[in-house]
Every structure is written in structure tokens, then in C-alpha cells.
Assembly symmetry: C2
Homo-oligomer: 245 residues x 2
């Protein structure tokens, strides 16, 4: 069994509440949809599909038909330049929605690859739009989800344009921590699903800088890393590092 396939311990009760079936489900239930509406939503969600580590969910250039809700697992989204140079635009985990960039011109703009074995629900976009026009609460929720993607991307822009290496890595770890915590996983102890190179790529740094910065954060007593096993010792001090640009 590889490290990558070791399942993380989950607080099941929590997970169930925040991600009962599939993203869309999670998305609409808290919106106070009626039972009938919930059934309508369930109907358009296609069967879950399994992806093994390394599988592509879709590729840049693929024509756009559906959004994808991650039921569980972990994905990276990236652009591949002609020269083979990869540029990672984001990491996505359970409860998150993939493919919203493709609405703009009916083509996916990026590759999406599973970084661990994962389960995904396909949501045909035409069906979703049909449903959102009949269920106002669902429409509003969908707008919020797109808006959150915008906020997240703009946050990452600021990270890339203003923060130093140490701050970027701290922000990255805190972001993972927060998202894992929201899903019922431990916010302070988790496995990284990606290599140092992929982290560096995403943060606009090299793998060597990531490695050195991990070493430094450990020396400061802020965290422990062994391979991909991360333990954050002091979330507050980590957050404190982000304030001063």
C-alpha cells in the first residue's frame, strides 16, 4: 500500500453533515430546498464515476458539457504549455466543483488529474441551468459558488504578487487546513497529496525553495513534516506570518 492510498481518518458524523451525498446536494440542502426540489436536483446528477490516481477527469480543449462535483478524493488542475512545462492553477478536494471556467466558451481550459483515487459526480450543465431557473434558491447558491471561485483566485493572485516564499507556503498550508477542517478532517494533521514540485509550481516557487522553507518552518517549531505527513503546531503564528507584506 503506498502512502498516497492510505485513507485519512475522518470524523464521519461531520463529513456526513457537510457532504451528505454529492457537492450539489451539500450545496442545496442548507439552502432550505423543499424535499421535492432536492429530488429534482438528485435526478440530474449522473452516476458517480471512479478515477484512479493519474486518471484525467478531462483535458484542456475538451468540449464542455458538465460540471464535476468531487465526492471524495483530490485533483490538480493545470495548463500544459507546448514545451511540456506544466502550470498548476489549483488543487481541488471533496465538496468542490470543477469546470466553471469552461462555461465562458464551451471548452475546458485546463487539464484535471486525480492525485489520489477519487469519486466524482457529473452534473450536465444544461440540466443544471434548467433547474436553477426553476429553483431560485439553487440559482443563488450556484452564483455564490462561482463567486467563491473568483474570490479564491483573486486571493491567490495577491499571494503570488506580494508574498515571500515563507508566506506563500504558510498560506498554502493554512488554506489546505481550513478546507480539510471544513470537511471534517483534521485541520492540523494531514497528508499532502502533491509533490514538492507541484506545490512549488502552484506557488510560483521551485521545489528546492519549498523543501528549504519546510525545513525552516520546522526549525521555527511551527510544524512537522515527514515525507507528506504534515502536522501544524501553531495555526495562529502561521496566520500571523501572512499579515506583513
Amino acid at each position: 500500500m503506498t502512502i498516497q492510498s492510505i485513507p485519512i481518518k475522518v470524523n464521519l458524523a461531520n463529513l456526513k453533515a457537510s457532504c451528505s451525498a454529492c457537492t450539489l446536494h451539500e450545496l442545496c440542502l442548507p439552502m432550505g430546498l423543499s424535499l421535492d426540489d432536492t429530488e429534482l436536483v438528485d435526478k440530474i446528477i449522473n452516476n458517480r464515476r471512479k478515477f484512479l490516481r493519474g486518471d484525467y477527469l478531462y483535458r484542456a480543449g475538451d468540449s464542455f458539457r458538465s460540471l464535476y462535483a468531487i465526492r471524495n478524493g483530490f485533483f490538480k488542475m493545470s495548463e500544459l504549455a507546448e514545451d511540456g512545462c506544466e502550470k498548476i492553477t489549483g488543487f481541488y478536494m471533496a465538496g468542490e466543483l470543477l469546470g466553471m471556467d469552461a462555461i465562458s466558451d464551451d471548452r475546458h481550459h485546463y487539464h484535471v488529474v486525480a492525485l489520489e483515487d477519487s469519486m466524482v459526480c457529473e452534473i450536465p450543465f444544461a440540466d443544471l441551468e434548467h433547474l436553477t431557473s426553476t429553483i431560485p434558491a439553487l440559482q443563488h447558491h450556484f452564483h455564490k459558488i462561482m463567486s467563491r471561485e473568483i474570490v479564491a483566485d483573486q486571493g491567490h493572485m495577491l499571494l503570488l504578487s506580494k508574498m515571500k516564499a515563507e508566506q506563500r507556503l504558510a498560506a498554502f498550508l493554512l488554506n489546505l487546513s481550513q478546507r480539510l477542517g471544513a470537511r471534517g478532517y483534521s485541520p492540523t494533521h494531514f497528508y499532502l497529496r502533491m509533490t514538492r514540485e507541484e506545490i512549488g509550481n502552484y506557488l510560483g516557487l521551485t521545489l528546492e525553495t519549498i523543501s528549504r522553507t519546510f525545513t525552516h518552518l520546522q526549525q521555527e517549531g511551527l510544524m512537522t513534516v515527514h515525507h507528506r505527513d504534515v502536522e501544524l503546531h501553531d495555526l495562529l503564528r502561521l496566520k500571523g506570518m501572512l499579515n506583513h507584506y
Copy 2:
């Protein structure tokens, strides 16, 4: 008359076609809305409001009620850290929609300031959502607009994480060029509405680097800059600079 207030020469025929009244108008007309639907859209758009250079359209933290469509003019969007350090997240021009980040949690996340005298239409978001649920073509178009914002932000992320100073500036100029061209302005000859410092801020560089890079691009014969008057001599070669990361 300051340089900032010199009006740029416009191809009026073009402008009219692509931006007849207000952004939303421009947005829905090409979607094949019926005349009746178009009238409905017009009804929810509040009177145009004028903003002088330096005026705030809204501030970070303001509660979210409306999106804003720029009828004409130029705005910058920015975050202001406690220490007073500004971080510019984007520049917006005629025909673009502001405030979509605020849908996520009913608060504006950034400040928006006019960089020249501008005219803006306010679009109450509740009204817009009401309309989008009754006009499917409008809903779809709105989703495309949000999606385009996501694509643009992700493109800027890649710029910030992978490109060198010269490529960033070239990409910035080409982006302005393309957007101005789409609005009927000259894509090769335009005024910059922002300072070198603001460009640098947005591109993750210092004003000195922007200045030196302008000088260098001029020496290469790719462009001419006098103060804020930019002339691009070779769009193809500028585009060629972006390929190699």
C-alpha cells in the same frame, strides 16, 4: 486639460454595436432576447451615475446589493492592507461588470476607484437574479460573464507565477490592447490610465522595473511610450514573447 481627461478617439459605429447602452444591454442583445425581454432588462438598470477621477464606486466591506456595469471610463480594484499597502487586483473598462466577488458572502472584498471620469450603471442583484430565472438566455449569459472573470483571474495567476518582467508587461499591454480593440478603440495606440507604480503593483513588480522594461521594449522597437501615450508597433512579436516560460 490634463492628459487623463483627453478623450480617446473612438470608432463610434463599432462602439455602438458592441456596447449600445449599458453592459447588460450589450450582454443580452447578442443573446437573441426578444424586444419584451430587453425592456425588462432595461427596467432593472438604475440610472447611470457619474464618477470623477478618484471617486470610490464602493469600498471593501461595503454590503453587497448591486453589480456595476461600466458604461464608460476606467477603474482599478484593490485591497488595502492595514499597513496602508495597496494591492491591485484588476483594472476594468467600459463594458465590464464589477462586484461579482461580493456574491459569495454579500460583502464587497475590494475597493473600486475611478482612474478617469466614468459613467456606471447599477444593477440590483436581487432584480437581476429574478430576471435571470425567467429569461434562460440571460441566465446563461450571466454565467458566461462570471466564468470569463474566472478565466481572466486564472490567466493572471499564471502570469504572476511563471512569467518574467518583460513577459508580464507585454501580456499586460496586449490584454489592454485586446480589450480596447474589442470596444472600438485603437488596439495599438492608447493612453494608460494608471501610473507605473500601479502597473507594477498589478504585475507583481516595482515601478522601477516597469520603467526599465518600457525602455527596453522601446529599444527593441516593439513600442513607443511617451508619458502615458502608448503605441504598440508589433503585436505579433509581443505575443511571441509570451510563449516561452
